[in-house]
């Protein structure tokens, strides 16, 4: 599949792919990042307080997908089964078997029978210890990593769609559109972003969607300038003029003829927008204006580390996870930037 994708690329993209993969640091970073991200996408199968598969009384059950009431396993209540309760597991194992995920805690599982008061240091059960509410740090890091990346990806996608569209319109039409657009951008850029975010976050109840929308308000501007510059240059290219002479519509010209040129600049900036988005989300969480209380987030772990200096595994974990994630992304970004650099391609 890789090979067909490769041969379908235009020669210039093939050369870019080659340049990227020749860069050892970038391709390893990409590989590590992608595997971590893939693992985190399946976090429910890695860290969960529900078993993956149960064989009970001749039937198979998969609690990860379906909620079963306790009565299914001949328990007493009609409520959902609590698999961390030894009472239930003993019943099941008497008549079958259970396959557990490698880590038996969900990110919001309060662990009841800790050997020490929370936060407790790393043990064989809690690989990275627990936080001050007796929740497993590894599970929280795994889910926090996933939500950070997903948030950053959504934010990057949204801001590049808006930013490219606005930049394209400004650059292509120039003149008054460009003039007013630029003034609007300048005013918009002058707004104190962080404070507006904090004020908005205290008016609404922040959740994933709200935070995304609020941060999108400010992050779309970062791509406008580069795309606008490419379109200002591109609209006078001869093949663009030739297309105009053919009577091709403006939108088609923008999409088919000029946008591919602007994609180089966009692609180069994307990884850095991605890291910026992760950092912003983490800092909002750290300040307590981010995702709702109880959700897994690296920022919240960071602030727990600050609040519990006697439990260094919290701060150290948060720091290591965040910094290695950002480093990996920056390395990948550098690789992409170099792959798109025409000076490294010619001759």
């Amino acid at each position: 599949m890789m090979a067909t994708f490769y041969s379908r690329c235009s020669p210039i993209n093939q050369r870019r792919l080659e340049t990227f993969f020749r860069n050892k640091r970038a391709s390893w970073s990409l590989l590590i990042f992608l595997s971590l991200f893939t693992i985190s996408l399946f976090a429910e199968f890695v860290a969960n307080d529900k078993p993956l598969l149960i064989h009970y009384d001749g039937d198979l059950y998969s609690p990860v997908w379906v909620d079963y009431p306790e009565t299914t396993f001949d328990g007493d209540f009609d409520t959902e089964a609590d698999y961390s309760d030894p009472y239930i597991t003993n019943i099941i194992e008497a008549k079958g078997w259970i396959i557990w995920p490698p880590v038996r805690y969900y990110f919001d599982t309060h662990i009841a029978n800790l050997p020490q008061p929370a936060p407790s240091p790393p043990t064989a059960n809690n690989w990275l210890g627990t936080d001050d509410q007796a929740r497993d740090v590894f599970a929280r890091v795994l889910y926090g990593f996933r939500i950070s990346i997903l948030f950053a990806l959504a934010l990057t996608l949204g801001s590049s769609i808006i930013g490219v569209a606005v930049g394209a319109l400004q650059g292509y039409y120039g003149g008054k559109v460009d003039l007013y657009g630029q003034r609007l951008l300048e005013i918009w850029g002058g707004l104190p972003q962080l404070f507006v975010l904090i004020i908005l976050a205290s008016i609404i109840t922040p959740n994933f969607g709200w935070l995304l929308a609020v941060m999108l308000l400010f992050s779309w501007t970062s791509l406008v300038d580069v795309v606008r510059a490419e379109f200002l240059r591109g609209r006078n290219l001869e093949y663009v003029r030739a297309a105009k002479a053919l009577g091709v519509s403006d939108l088609t010209i923008m999409y088919r003829h000029i946008l591919p040129n602007a994609m180089v600049a966009t692609m180069t900036m994307l990884p850095f927008i991605l890291t910026g988005a992760i950092t912003t989300l983490t800092s909002l969480d750290f300040l307590g204006f981010g995702l709702p209380a109880g959700s897994a987030s690296l920022g919240e772990l960071m602030s727990q580390g600050k609040g519990n200096l006697h439990a260094p595994w919290l701060a150290i974990t948060a720091f290591l996870v965040l910094s290695s994630m950002l480093t990996l992304l920056v390395f990948v970004g550098e690789g992409i930037r170099d792959a798109f650099d025409p000076r490294l391609l010619t001759r």
């Binding site: 235009s10 001869e238 003029r241 030739a242 002479a245 053919l246 091709v248 001759r347």
Partner: protein, 536 residues
């Protein structure tokens, strides 16, 4: 020792990913004292690379020399330490580049740039007297290269100078330290014909004064004939013929050299069935004008304008070619863009008796189909990210009512008509040579069956031999399709080979117009006369 520079078995190769490409293959030549040696060849033959290798300006280490040596006054330039090499560059060997606009730094004044060349190679420049003497030296140099009003040019920036003046500044810089060898890389290619001759005369004069040798790199045999004592003909990285200029040009041995010499555009325009006066008019303009605002006040209307085109009237007959002659900046390309309504203009445009200048964008689109344009630079006029088929068929998709089979057959037919192999339709532009690209551009323009084509310098970026083929193609198409052309060029030979009528444009005004024979054989306006005599 009568040779100032000798190149022995020089090869130039480039690392290209895992493989190496060999561009220049084991060439040898000498440059005698006080003589001009011309290195002639088509683009891509490796002549500029050879010149850059002498200056060691190639992108090392991706470039390398598998073999050879370059000996300049008994020093081997290829193995000389870099520090000594910088002493030779710009000091003992001077260089003039093709494009004076990009070779001069736009942020520094002329004085500063020439003074820099002086200061680098003169040790004692710290005292005040030295500074003032440098200023005098710069002034003397500018006087020597015969720039008009040299004193006022000291503080000028490159963009304030004309192309010819910039080239004179470049020459002044190259000569600042009285080099023994001057390398001139296509010194006049970017200049207008009337300026070209002045610059060449200046180079000859300065060569006599400074007693220097010149390595002249060019593709233009007119320039060679005018300047060189000795000629080297290069083809695909090898010197295939060399010898005394006069004997080589009058009696070439190799086929390739013969082809170079004989590839001047020739032949006559398509013969018309009726005298041109009796043909009906396809396109005419009345008082067509284009102006650009010079200074834009924040509020209110702009008062100062630059008139790129002033009140131009043209009359194009069906099936004929109207040649538009003029130098760069004269407004000839603006004329094409204005008629195609790609820029705003004033005045009337009539197409086939219908006034199209007042139609709005949508209704004008119906007329776009009958007027198409082919641009000068075949490298920038094709989108590098689209395949040939996509490029050619773009116009067809606008018609809407065609299915994929129709489009495929039309693309194949048009490719055959412009002598391209239809097999190549899935390739991308960068895989084609300049001439092939120009054919693709013509195919794109023709696919909508236009009635007229604007040809904006379609041949000037091409080598002579390829120019001829494109001109023949254009003639064939005109005959078969009864096309009308507006052919824009600065090259009189090319215009002559195609045009029935000619207009000469200078500073946005038509200074002369009429039948091609009349204008070219008995020009009445002094500017036309100057253009004709300056052609080498």
């Amino acid at each position: 020792m009568s040779d100032i520079l000798s190149v022995d078995q020089l090869s130039i190769s480039f690392h290209h990913g895992n493989s190496d490409t060999h561009i220049v293959k084991s060439i040898s030549f000498v440059i005698p004292h006080n003589k001009t040696v011309a290195l002639v060849g088509e683009s891509g033959s490796g002549k500029s690379l050879t010149a850059h290798a002498i200056m060691r300006l190639l992108p090392y280490p991706s470039a390398f020399h598998p073999s050879g040596s370059i000996t300049f006054e008994s020093r081997d330039l290829l193995s000389l330490p870099l520090k000594k090499m910088t002493n030779i560059r710009g000091n003992e060997i001077g260089m003039i580049f093709q494009e004076p606009m990009s070779a001069l730094n736009p942020l520094h004044t002329v004085e500063k740039q020439i003074a820099e060349a002086l200061k680098i190679h003169q040790a004692n420049t710290n005292t005040a007297s030295a500074t003032s003497s440098i200023k005098e030296q710069v002034l003397a140099l500018l006087t020597q290269v015969k720039i008009q009003a040299p004193k006022t040019k000291l503080k000028a920036y490159p963009h304030q100078l004309s192309g010819g003046q910039r080239q004179r500044v470049m020459i002044a810089m190259a000569l600042a330290n009285r080099p023994k060898l001057l390398i001139a890389d296509e010194p006049t290619t970017a200049l207008d014909v009337t300026v070209q001759k002045d610059i060449l005369d200046l180079l000859r004069e300065l060569q006599a004064i400074y007693q220097m040798s010149v390595l002249l790199i060019t593709h233009d045999l007119g320039v060679v004939k005018y300047m060189a004592d000795h000629v080297l003909v290069m083809k695909q990285g090898e010197i295939i013929e060399s010898g005394d200029a006069k004997s080589l040009l009058s009696n070439p041995q190799e086929d390739y050299t013969k082809q170079l010499i004989n590839s001047h555009p020739s032949g006559n325009p398509v013969t018309l069935a009726h005298p041109i006066e009796e043909l009906s008019t396809l396109l005419s303009t009345h008082h067509l004008g284009v102006k650009f605002p010079l200074s834009k006040p924040l509020f209110g209307r702009c008062k100062e304008f630059f008139h790129a085109l002033k009140q131009v009237d043209i009359d194009l007959k069906k099936g004929t070619t109207l040649g538009v002659l003029g130098e760069s900046g004269s407004g000839k390309s603006t004329l094409a863009l204005a008629i195609l309504r790609l820029i705003e203009s004033s005045g009337d445009i009539h197409l086939d008796g219908k006034k199209v200048s007042e139609l709005d964008g949508k209704s004008f689109n119906a007329f776009r189909r009958s007027m198409q344009i082919v641009f000068q630079d075949p490298f920038s006029s094709l989108s590098p990210r689209m395949s040939i088929k996509q490029i050619i068929s773009e116009g067809l998709h606008l018609q809407g009512n065609l299915d994929q089979v129709d489009i495929d057959t039309k693309v194949i037919n048009i490719m055959e008509e412009v002598d391209l192999d239809p097999e190549m339709q899935h390739r991308y532009p960068h895989e084609f040579s300049g001439g092939q690209r120009q054919r693709i551009a013509i195919a794109r323009a023709l696919i909508l069956n236009p009635r007229m084509l604007f040809l904006d310098e379609p041949t000037s970026a091409l080598d002579r031999a390829v120019q001829m083929q494109v001109i023949e193609l254009l003639r064939k198409l005109q005959q078969e399709r009864q096309l009308s052309y507006i052919f824009i060029s600065h090259d009189i030979h090319v215009v002559k080979a195609l045009s029935h009528q000619i207009i000469v444009i200078k500073d946005g005004d038509i200074v002369e117009q009429g039948l091609a024979d009349v204008v070219l054989n008995s020009p009445s306006h002094p500017y036309t006369q100057k253009l004709l005599t300056a052609t080498l």
